[in-house]
Amino acid sequence: MVNPGKRMNILKTKVALTRKRTILPPEISRLHMDFALRWNDGHMGPRKFWKTCLPRLKFWNPAVPMIINRSSNNAGPATLSIYFRQAAAAAAAPTTPAGSAPKVNFVTPLAQQPHSSTTNECPAPLPEEGERVVTIEMKHQHSDAILQEFLQKTGATVLQPSPDELNEMRQAEDLKDRAAIDRSIMKKYIDDKRAEERLLARAREEAEAIRLANQ
């Protein structure tokens, strides 16, 4: 098994990524993203948004289904659909503290609900009764720009991390810096070794040449 210390370091850097609290308002029932499998033709932004921002959103809003439907069609659109519950439906839902989506879809069985796919199986579903959809065009956009627009359109609250969490994040950063220093030390050592080997090889070649010339 992996060295426990090493494993813990990897884990801490990954967990630290989830520390910037981004809490969606309870009206949001689900998210749906639609983009291509490969990054050409402006599909890099959505891909990066998925890789860098979505895990954090999912961590702080575990109840909100976040579906990603990818296809091999790079010419197609890249859209992010946000499904809002209408006010009536939101009021009907039992009130829970902010930060957790109050209503979980228990009505349809899981197997029949849309799920993430890499073969274009689940395109963005039509809004249910009492739902409205807001879309974001993600094509040719940077992931930061997408996040900006997303936060503005959803009205999500981004909370400042607590001192403990800040400390954790700083430790993860330190670890990264330390790793860079260690890497450079190691690189210097290897480079020196290789240079020495090269010198020796050249000297040996010359000696061989001299020996052959003398014969």
Binding site: G5, T18, L54, P62, A63, M66, G99, S100, Q113, H115
Partner: protein, 312 residues
């Protein structure tokens, strides 16, 4: 004179083998000159004797070391953080967001403290909530026998004897089943059919070693549906334990069943083997590994366990 000294030497050797060797200083040298030669012989000896001695010592040392050889990190470090099941699931679901649920599973890695050259844990387990249920079983049994009836009622996709052999030969690359079991009475027919070349590379060839030859087709099929095999490799047992869409309740039941089964396996082994479970790590196909602390509820009271079972 030479012959007498030789004779004396052999006598001395005899006396040494029966009685403890007399100290060299206790006997005056002039009385037994042969004894001194004997001592030199025992301490130095011929090159062969020395080599043999060295070999023996090496063996001894080796035996002594092996008894304590364990895998690295076999002892709990105590430094690492531990997580409750719901917390670990929350992190893993965040790590797996946007992946097709059919291609993502929760996995468990169980670290076991064990010696390197001892027996390994190896068994098959049926989970209360099967991870995947795409098991399609083919049964080789005599036509019209009781076993064939069992196979039909048990839901086998293909069964029979000669008809099965023909089917396997006809479409070797597109078999309708992914598990193959054989009734004990049909083994000779199977061996005669010469299907080892077709089935062997696919790992489907029924054999006693893989526990796929049986007298009771019914129980074997029941065992196989949704069953997973596991095996200890370099001190760790890894097994997929749940679909990413499982609820915390389902997952915890699976984990419990798994650990109970491992404990039963360990207790069933001979008593000179002592293995113990050190660490239970929950991970997922693309996620990091979280050491479990045995708790269930999330630390964040805003999160309901039901929230961790939504569509992915």
């Amino acid at each position: 004179m030479a012959s007498t000294s030789q004779f004396l030497a052999s006598l001395a050797r005899l006396s040494i083998s029966s009685a403890p060797r007399p100290a060299a200083s206790s006997i005056p040298r002039f009385l037994a000159p042969s004894v001194t030669t004997q001592i030199r012989c025992a301490s130095g000896g011929t090159a062969q004797m020395q080599a043999r001695q060295r070999e023996k010592e090496k063996l001894k040392k080796k035996r002594r070391q092996q008894r304590f050889k364990e895998y690295k990190y076999a002892v709990p470090s105590g430094k690492g953080e531990q997580f409750s099941l719901c917390d670990a699931m929350r992190y893993l679901r965040a790590a797996e967001v946007g992946r097709p649920p059919s291609s993502v599973t929760y996995e468990v890695a169980l670290k076991v403290r064990t010696i390197k050259n001892g027996p390994v844990i190896r068994n098959r387990i049926r989970f209360p909530y099967p991870v995947k249920n795409d098991t399609r079983i083919g049964v080789i049994c005599a036509e019209g026998s009781n076993a064939m009836h069992d196979a039909r009622t048990g839901g086998a996709v293909a069964f029979g004897e000669q008809s099965m052999f023909d089917l396997i030969k006809a479409n070797a690359n597109n078999l309708p089943f992914n598990r193959l079991i054989c009734h004990a009475d049909s083994v000779s027919a199977l061996n005669k059919a010469g299907l080892g070349r077709v089935l062997g590379p696919k790992g489907l060839m029924p054999s006693l070693k893989t526990n796929t030859i049986t007298k009771s087709v019914k129980t074997m099929m029941h065992e196989m549906v949704g069953a997973e095999t596991y095996r200890e490799k370099i001190g760790v047992i890894r097994i997929p334990i749940g679909n990413i869409q499982f609820s915390p309740k389902q997952l915890s039941e699976n984990v419990k069943t798994f650990i109970e089964s491992i404990k039963a396996d360990i207790s069933r082994m001979e008593d000179r083997v002592d293995k113990d479970i050190i660490e239970v790590v929950l991970t997922s196909t693309n996620g990091p590994g979280f050491t479990l602390n045995g708790g269930f509820l999330p630390t964040d009271e805003k999160v309901d366990p039901a929230h961790l079972a939504t569509a992915m």
